[in-house]
């Protein structure tokens, strides 16, 4: 690790030992393979570039998710948030979506965001499940605190797992009453909601080494939908 | 008792119209007397539906069509952990939908 000044050290939050997320491969409905892996700090600028155009897409609450995620990713890169992780899904090396969260302590996780770029293939469902897998199976946590900004999120998580109410806890994302995923629920939901194969074949992993961005026009079009119309 | 579990028995030919209607589907007579729908029967078909309407907060709803022993077919909610086509069931009445102002009662099916 590079040498840091005493001042910088005092500005950084204390860091827990976090295990690395072992990459996995997922076959999507299209037959394409998505690789899900952890994102390093030096790759964050690429992710920021991808989500930047989404800051003004109101559809499906992309604007607020992109805006908050932007801050969280930047904070991760610059060591200003405690124990955050970022996972990305890539199809043929091209960024398909990302998720993030942090470890509050050994027992409790705090889920932050899920942002899907390549829509129509349940990428968001796969990535959300991957981060629950990280908290509970890899970090050994007991429960994860979760909120949703969009009705789509609410349907996919609160109803589908299902999550339990922990409304006395205010989530970091705006102080909204939290839901939780207890590890028992994770394990019983796992057969129907969590999937993927390990280890990732070498060839596939190699193609996911560098995050390639879809063009800005493509990102907005995929997220906001084919924008037919407008005069 | 809920209005929703009554059929219209034709005063002329005795056919029970369920849902009710203005004209008997068998003999075109226009007068009826109400009869309670219910009893024992067999599971004709069923589904677990996840694409739910606005008043429901559950993950899924188990619905079924039952053929009652008296020949009348009915739709309702199936309360059975182990459904099979042709399985014997019987009807009960319960809250089947709750839009907020007043819960709606209707037919449910349990193993016979």
């Amino acid at each position: 690790m590079a040498h840091i000044s005493e001042l910088e050290a005092s500005l950084r939050p204390p860091a827990m030992d976090m295990p690395p997320y072992p990459p996995k491969a997922i076959t999507l409905a299209s037959g394409e393979e998505m690789v899900v892996r952890q994102v390093e700090r030096n790759e964050i600028p690429t992710l920021l570039e991808a989500i930047y155009p989404l800051l003004w897409v109101e559809r499906d609450f992309y604007d607020i998710v992109a805006a908050r995620l932007f801050g969280e990713l930047l904070a991760y890169k610059r060591y200003r948030v405690k124990d955050e992780y970022v996972l990305a899904g890539m199809i043929d090396g091209v960024l398909a979506g990302m998720v993030n969260g942090r470890l509050v302590d050994a027992k409790t996780g705090m889920s932050y965001h899920t942002l899907t770029i390549r829509r129509g293939l349940r990428v968001g469902s796969h990535l959300f499940a991957a981060k629950m897998e990280y908290h509970i199976e890899h970090c050994g946590q007991e429960e994860v605190l979760i909120v949703a900004e969009s009705p789509i999120g609410f349907r996919r998580w609160m109803i589908e797992y299902p999550l339990e109410k922990r409304f006395e806890v205010q989530h970091e994302l705006g102080g909204v009453p939290s839901w939780i995923l207890p590890k028992e629920t994770y394990y019983s939901a796992k057969p129907r909601l969590v999937s993927g194969r390990r280890p990732v074949p070498q060839e596939l992993l190699k193609r996911a080494e560098t995050i390639v961005l879809p063009g800005e026009e493509t990102v907005v079009r995929q997220v906001a939908g084919e924008k037919e119309g407008g005069e | 008792m809920s209005d929703n579990v009554y059929g219209a028995k034709c005063t002329s030919c005795g056919t029970v119209n369920y849902p009710t209607r203005a004209v008997c589907r068998n003999c075109r007579n226009e007068t009826f007397e109400p009869v309670e729908i219910g009893g024992e029967g067999k599971l004709l078909t069923y589904t677990d539906v996840y694409a739910l309407a606005i008043d429901y907060e559950t993950r899924y709803l188990r619905l079924a069509i039952v053929e009652l022993d008296d020949g009348i077919r009915v739709t309702g909610q199936l309360l059975d952990d182990d459904p099979k086509l042709g399985k014997r069931v019987k009807t009960t009445i319960g809250v089947v939908r709750d839009p907020g102002e007043a819960p709606i009662q209707g037919l449910q099916f349990v193993p016979a």
Binding site: I26, T27, L28, A29, S30, G31, G120, L121, R122, S125, H126, A129, P151, R155, P191, R192, L193, V194, S195, G196, R197, A224, G225, E226, K227, E228, G229, G230, E231 | D3, N4, Y18, P19, T20, L44, T45, Y46, T47, D48, V49, Y50, A51, L52, A53, I54, D55, L61, L63, A64, I65, R73, V74, T75, G76, Q77, L85, V96, R97, G106, L107
Partner: protein, 392 residues
């Protein structure tokens, strides 16, 4: 009855639109009108097909509204509502105007702008076509009716999930060749059924139907121009004759159907359409069916007379209904991939078939297409309109 011809066909891309309800209707209408190249010949009547505008878009009297958007006064005009069969019903009404001698030129436009409301609202709005006292109160939605139908049908005839998947794969493949289709993403058997990940990729919607067995919710509009023979002879371009139309109804509640695995209204409507056309299912070269759920493509193809009872899934296994097969079904991608703006679908089927019969279907062209059949399935099969077109 006087002969009726389709001389123009157009549509918007289906999917998510920024256009308003009437903008969508106008764009499709103008495309069809330009295609028809009527010159100075006036439009006598406008018929609009739509299911939900009053509830979802807070708009009514769409016939009058479209006349105004297109400055077609003083043309006759009204809207037709027949649930998911609104499109073909509107088409039928337009044909009747010409066949009766009351009009020479009719514009038929189907339009739906559903995505202004969220998925739960949309599901509930479509569920409003179910029987209120004995179906709707139980939380019955259209997918639940399809799920119950599918379980019984599959059990009775040995249809398996893989057959449903083959239909989804075929229709997505066709949709990928259709620039107007909502979904242009192809899918594979591995991705939606056989890989372990398929559990997440293709979750249940109404068992045994899964996500990829169900059509999407779409915005869009489609339009055809109908003319009498007197006008048709004055126009350049190929003529597509409306050879036969049939319509039939059945019980409202699905549980009251005589045989719950039999689409009786499809059978009767199709017989009437073929009888009027003086043709048989064997004569048909290309077909558009109402695959709001993949199981319906199987069941409708049998009830319409293309396959015997319980035979369609075997024909699908043999590839007979693919674009390059003996009887292409849903070359457009069907409702599954082309999308399903409810009021527009019935007209969109006819737009595709008009293009097919005119040889204008591009990468989706079915070889030697001269006679077509379409089935527009209203309610859950309790109101069906079948049409037969013929290239002249």
């Amino acid at each position: 009855m006087k002969p009726v011809y389709i001389v123009g066909a157009g549509m918007t891309k289906f999917g998510r639109s920024e256009w308003s309800l009437m903008q969508l209707a106008s764009v499709a209408s103008l495309a069809a009108l330009h295609h028809a190249a009527l010159g100075e010949i006036p439009v006598d009547a406008v018929v609009v097909a739509n299911m939900g505008a009053a509830r979802v878009n807070h708009q009514t009297a769409l016939g009058s509204a479209l006349v105004d958007r297109l400055a077609l006064y003083p043309a006759m005009a009204e809207a037709v509502e027949n649930g998911p069969a609104s499109g073909a019903s509107a088409f039928k009404v337009g044909c009747q105007a010409i066949a009766s001698g009351m009009a020479d030129v009719v514009l038929v436009t189907g339009v739906e702008r559903m995505r202004v409301v969220n998925g739960l609202e949309g599901t509930d709005f479509v569920a409003s076509l179910s029987q209120p006292e004995v179906e709707y109160i139980y939380g019955v939605t259209l997918p639940s009716l399809a799920g119950m139908f599918a379980r019984l049908f599959m059990d009775r005839f040995g249809v398996e999930r893989k057959h449903l998947a083959m239909i989804a794969i075929k229709n997505h493949e066709n949709g990928a060749k259709n620039p107007y289709a909502h979904i242009q993403q192809t899918v594979t058997m591995e991705g939606i059924l056989t890989a372990p990940e398929a559990v997440v990729n293709n979750p249940p919607i109404a068992e045994p139907l899964h996500l990829f067995d169900c059509c999407p919710v779409s915005d869009g509009a489609a339009s055809v121009v109908l003319v009498s023979e007197e006008v048709a002879v004055k126009l350049a371009g190929p003529k597509v004759r409306v050879a036969g139309i049939g319509q039939a109804t059945d019980t409202h509640a699905v549980h009251e159907r005589e045989d719950p695995t039999d689409l009786k209204a499809v059978r009767i409507a199709s017989e009437k359409a073929f009888s009027m056309a003086g043709l048989k299912p064997d004569d048909v070269d290309v077909v558009e069916l109402h695959d709001a759920f993949t199981i319906l493509e199987i069941a409708e193809s049998e009830a319409a007379g293309f396959f015997g009872r319980g035979e369609a899934h075997k024909a699908i296994e043999r590839g007979e209904t693919r674009l390059d097969g003996r009887l292409p079904i849903n070359p457009s991608g069907g409702l599954k991939a082309r999308g399903h703006p409810v009021g527009a679908t019935g007209v969109a089927q006819l737009v595709e078939l008009a293009w097919q019969l005119r040889g204008e279907a591009g990468a989706r062209q079915a070889k030697g297409a001269e006679i077509s059949y379409a089935c527009n399935f209203g309610g859950f099969g309790n109101n069906v309109v079948a049409t037969v077109l013929r290239r002249e």
